[in-house]
């Protein structure tokens, strides 16, 4: 007869959540992501055609925006509904660089170079500069978050997007030939001629699957590493209990502003990708409330702080309206219903604060 022993308690190693450690673990996911981006770029259009490829690009841009917004709304527990504003800052900045930059460097206004050619590198750099300018805007908008909470902060961020929208509407016509650019005086460059209310037409369309998913990889890896770093824990502690966080020596003012700056940077990069996407003319209305709210919905559905949850929500909420094109006018109704159902059934979001694999592991344990 066999004696049944009590199960030994789970060993501490088995119970420790998966955490990337060492320099390799930082580089490896990036390398894998970039390889996937190349494969997507080379293979996908041949299989699904340009229409679905474009949806996949839209999904990638939405992932960057939702995952970055999640740093502010999910991890740090602030409430920003001006994320599209940061995106638009980045988009216009990047567009300004590639559109007028191309003329000054190569003397043409069109696309320059082949895949991974000089034109694309200018484009990638312009996205990063767009991100940096957006991060500056994030710093300025983040400052009020030190004094305001909840709804009041939301109104400030909402105001930022709306102000930006109105300011962009006041800009001049895009200079669309070399002669006009050469003839333009200082007064025409300030504010920059980015098309006013009709949008910034003519930006060279560099955005492709490779660049989008390279930046998606960077965003997701940075967000994940952040979440499991001391800095990320400090941000989460601000969300959980500000007083206790301060008692632990966390500078909550710095954490809040930093969260805004980081989120705005990635939103700006996404804006650059968006502005250079085929079929898109970035325009002032992109800075407005409606687009910001799309990303808020993604973070709410995905769960506060859950990177995988928010990614999944971004995929679903971008793909769904495309697949249901015929019912487009009901989109907002469906989204609203979805939110109401979620509030009743799963107020913490799809995955709450957890990642997808936490559930899988719990079940297998």
């Amino acid at each position: 007869m066999s004696v049944s022993h009590p199960m030994p308690a789970a060993s501490p190693i088995a119970a420790t959540p998966f955490r990337p450690t060492g320099p390799l673990m930082g580089v490896l996911p990036l390398a894998i992501g970039i390889v996937v981006a190349v494969l997507l770029h080379v293979i996908l259009p041949g299989f699904v055609g340009p229409y679905y490829s474009r949806i996949v690009i839209d999904i990638g841009i939405a992932i960057i925006l939702a995952v970055s917004l999640n740093i502010v709304n999910g991890m740090t527990g602030q409430f920003s509904i001006g994320h599209a504003g940061f995106m638009t800052v980045g988009g216009y900045t990047a567009g300004l660089i590639t559109y007028y930059g191309s003329y000054f460097i190569w003397g043409t206004l069109g696309k320059h170079g082949v895949f991974l050619g000089t034109g694309e590198w200018l484009f990638a750099a312009s996205c990063i500069v767009g991100g940096l300018v957006a991060a500056g805007a994030g710093y300025i908008v983040g400052l009020p978050s030190l004094r305001l909470r909840g709804d009041y902060l939301a109104i400030v961020t909402l105001g930022f997007g709306e102000i930006l929208r109105v300011v962009l509407q006041q800009t001049g016509k895009v200079l669309d030939d070399g002669a006009a650019i050469r003839a333009a005086g200082w007064s025409q460059w300030l504010p920059p001629p980015v098309g006013g209310a009709i949008g910034f037409d003519g930006i060279p369309k560099y955005t492709n699957l490779f660049w989008v998913y390279t930046f998606v990889t960077i965003t997701v890896v940075v967000a994940y590493r952040l979440k499991h770093s001391s800095l990320g824990r400090a941000m989460i502690s601000v969300r959980e209990d500000e007083i206790a966080a301060q008692a632990m020596g966390v500078n909550i003012a710095r954490q809040k502003v930093l969260a805004f700056v980081m989120a705005a940077f990635f939103a700006g990069v996404a804006g650059g990708l968006f502005a250079h996407e085929r079929g898109v003319i970035i325009s002032p209305k992109d800075a407005g409330f409606q687009r910001s709210f799309d990303y808020v919905i993604m973070t709410v559905l995905g769960g506060r702080g859950s990177i995988s949850g928010v990614t999944l929500a971004a995929i679903i909420l971008t793909a769904l309206p495309e697949l249901l094109r015929d019912f487009e006018q009901y989109r907002l109704i469906v989204f609203a219903l979805l939110l109401i159902v979620m509030m009743i059934v799963r107020p913490q979001g799809l995955f709450g604060i957890h990642e997808i694999w936490h559930f899988w592991r719990r079940r297998s344990r």
């Binding site: 824990r233 959980e240 206790a244 301060q246 632990m248 020596g249 966390v250």
Partner: protein, 235 residues
């Protein structure tokens, strides 16, 4: 180590502290007792920088700290365990402890302090991978103190550690408070449970509506008629 001189604090037009003075010497357990609204928590919150005083001085190790931001005060070694524990409910117990050592970079020292805290609170060690919000009230209080120990406090300020806990757990926690003190950490303890507080403390201050009414040796105060009538339930 800590000296408070003529400290006044107001919430708007309501004066919560009316010029109190007290001092805590290295190695002591000093307790601040008094009824609801006496200003006990206000005193701690002002010392830790969460509130700024209307007037008066607070000196820690000879340096004026009033008006400094709370995170810098915590980094000086003046660590506050707030009322209601303030644990990070959605993080694991382990992550809570890591946040206790947030501003420290001496890995070896952190490991030693973590080990010491977990030895003092074996219950916390059993729950390391659990979400902190799922702990019982007593365990949460233990975690809050353990987490504070990872900041390696010179002066640990505890606000109502017995709040809402079963008598047996209160016993355990006060036992540990005494041990922490014996290992060299100075403690400023705010309590409504005056009899427990007076048992562990060396000295005590009795606070009433923002003024210090009595001060002195904890044993002597516990024996005095006034304190017995007002706070210990004796007739």
């Amino acid at each position: 180590m800590l000296s408070i001189n003529d400290l006044s604090v107001s919430y708007g037009s309501i004066q919560a502290l009316r010029g109190i003075s007290l001092h805590v010497e290295a190695g002591e357990i000093v307790t601040l007792i008094g009824g609801n609204g006496a200003g006990k928590s206000t005193t701690l919150r002002t010392v830790s920088g969460l509130l700024s005083p209307r007037s008066g001085q607070i000196q820690f190790e000879g340096q004026a700290i009033q008006g400094q931001p709370p995170h810098l005060i915590a980094q000086r070694g003046l660590v506050h365990v707030p009322e209601g524990r303030g644990i990070f409910a959605n993080l694991t117990v382990e992550e809570n402890l890591q946040l206790g050592a947030y501003f420290r970079h001496d890995k070896a020292g952190i490991r030693t302090d973590r080990e010491r805290a977990l030895t003092l609170f074996p219950r916390v060690r059993e729950r390391l991978q659990q979400q902190a919000g799922t702990l019982s009230g007593g365990e949460q209080q233990m975690l809050a103190i353990a987490r504070a120990l990872l900041s390696r406090p010179k002066l640990l300020m505890l606000d109502e550690p017995s709040l809402g806990l079963a008598p047996q757990i209160v016993q355990t926690i006060f036992q540990v408070i005494r041990e922490i003190n014996q290992e060299g950490t100075t403690i400023l303890l705010v309590e409504q449970n005056a009899s427990m507080a007076l048992q562990v403390a060396h000295r005590a201050y009795v606070l009433e509506v923002g003024c210090i009414q009595m001060e002195g040796d904890a044993k002597a105060l516990a024996a005095s008629d006034d304190v017995r009538k007002a706070y210990l339930g004796a007739h």
